[in-house]
């Protein structure tokens, strides 16, 4: 796993002489970045405790919207739909993008490389509404009506470039000497991939899958158009509230989702750290 042997230590102690590659103000910049990133989230969570009906005007503290959200079957179904779609789409899109990226970055120059690149990034280049209408027309032309299945297929399609780009960026310019070495040491092709290439690729795969997950969780227009009966997702639910105005109930649901995500990752962290220490001893 550890490929970069010579990482300089973080320069917290040596304030005067920064190691090569470190820059003054980088930490401060990052702090500012995260404040920018989390300020709206803090506001959003704060307003989920708004007693007022309006999402943006403070009317006192209350947890009514949480109670409401937990009693609202429609909103819960929408949340589950979103999570199912995003998870399935991310798994498929990342897998497809990974092998695609491996071929395109490692396969040398071959006829059709540029075309293949163009095809994989095509979903990125078309305005969402156009994709939405076009895919809906196509689905109804072939008589495909799988409810949530339609949404999942559409999401896999447009998530591929989002997963592909970071993975390919990762592969680009990465030298193949480690893999060659593994092959020279009689590792099978699969072993080489499993123990050398995949770990090298991991940061790209993590970045790509996270991107496709959030992109899928947030998609509205394509889901709205392509979805059949019973496939309302959270974004579709939220955007369709305009007739009555958004309420802090949405903030409450978002807050629960945030905590849910934090909980999963914390749990994962604890488990993986434990297993790591075990293998070390």
């Amino acid at each position: 796993m550890t490929v970069h042997i010579n990482k300089p230590a973080t320069g917290n102690k040596a304030k005067r002489i920064l190691p090569v590659g470190h820059y003054r103000g980088l930490g401060a910049w990052t702090v500012f970045f995260f404040i920018f990133l989390y300020l709206p989230i803090v506001v959003l969570i704060f307003y989920s405790f708004n007693a007022n009906r309006m999402v943006m005007n403070w009317g006192g503290f209350g947890i009514d919207w949480y109670i409401k959200a937990f009693q609202n079957d429609d909103i819960q179904k929408a949340v589950w739909n979103s999570l199912i779609v995003a998870t399935v789409a991310t798994v498929f899109a990342t897998a497809i993008a990974t092998i695609g990226a491996l071929v395109l970055a490692r396969g040398g120059n071959f006829r059709g490389k540029t075309v293949s690149l163009g095809l994989i990034t095509l979903p990125l280049m078309v305005p969402e509404i156009v994709t939405a209408v076009a895919v809906l027309i196509f689905f109804s032309a072939i008589g495909m009506n799988w409810g949530l299945g339609n949404v999942i297929i559409a999401h896999i399609t447009f998530c591929i470039p989002f997963a592909f780009m970071p993975i390919r960026a990762r592969l680009e310019g990465m030298d193949t000497s480690l893999e060659q070495a593994a092959r020279d040491l009689y590792a099978s092709e699969w072993e080489t991939f499993r123990f050398v290439t995949a770990p090298l690729l991991m940061p790209g795969i993590v970045a790509g899958s996270m991107l496709s997950f959030v992109i899928s969780m947030d998609d509205f227009i394509i889901t709205l158009m392509v979805g059949g009966a019973g496939s309302t997702t959270l974004p579709v639910y939220i955007y369709s509230m305009i007739r009555r105005g958004l309420t802090p109930e949405i903030n409450a649901v978002s807050t629960v989702l945030l905590f849910f995500s934090v909980a999963i990752v914390t749990a994962y962290w604890i488990v993986s750290n434990k297993s790591q220490t075990k293998t070390v001893h």
Partner: protein, 342 residues
Amino acid sequence: MKRHLTLLSAATAMLISGSSMAAEELFIYNWTEYTPPELITKFEKETGIKVSVDTYDSNETLLAKLQAGATGYDLVVPSQNFVPILVSEGLIQKVAVHSLANYKNLEERWQKPEWDPEQEYSAPWQWGTTSFSYNSENYSGKGTSLKEFFEPSEEVRGRLSAFQTPDEVVSLANIYLGIPFCSEDAKQMKKVQDLLVGQKEFVVAYNSETMSDLLTSGEAVITNHWSGFSRLGRLTGAPIVYAYPKEGVVGWYDSLVVPTSAKNVENAKKFMNFMMDPVNMAMLTENQGYGDAVKGTAAYYSDELKSAPEINPPADLNVFFAPTCSPKAQSLIDKVWTKVMQ
């Protein structure tokens, strides 16, 4: 290839019909929070039909979706000017609403409306008006004329908000200028364009989502608004007044219709009939705060709703319901709007 596709679609069709055989079902497609859950529970209890509600964001989406061939919905809720389009495009079917048992409860003035002259297609949902609202603490006017909205006084400069889509704004402009709805006369529409371009100088934001918030925070003094939505803003304690200008206001009327592709037509009709029962319709109106078209619902209203100015307009108010525009008129509206937005 083609045979595969037919096989595939046949398999899916069997899958779908198979699942609908299992239990009585009804698929409603409506705006979010436009279908109160307690109403659905009551209907499910009374009939044993399992109801599933999906949501969309606009009439345009509904039309585009049905037009592109979306299926699986038994009831959809378009506004009045979309009903004739759905009929002429063959997207909704006749269900003889006039022959349903509770049809007699429908108020006379809403029976056989011009958008459904034989009442073959549509059953009532909610109706309301579009006008403008103002914050009475920051504004000295009284909301008596559309002039206050289109050619506002100095105190509104930079603090006016209009809707983000053209239809209702242009309709209000038509009322103000005395030009018929859906005008095909380019010269008349030029006047509308000039009015809207002039108004734009005062506009802080084109917005169809957060009107009440704009008024409360003081970001805007006057905003385009819907009657029931304005009431919700007022109920949070903000000094929001919904204006009834002397020239008149735009009306809209949403109704239940059955798409041609519906699988559970009988259940859809049961639901239509259910909604024309005053007890049930009153539940909806209480929840939504717009108006309804069923006799005897007022008896079930809460006192607050009975006295709400937003749903009890003055008796002499002119309410104009926008008809379906011809393609030529529609393209003029689009031209005007694109010009205003440049």
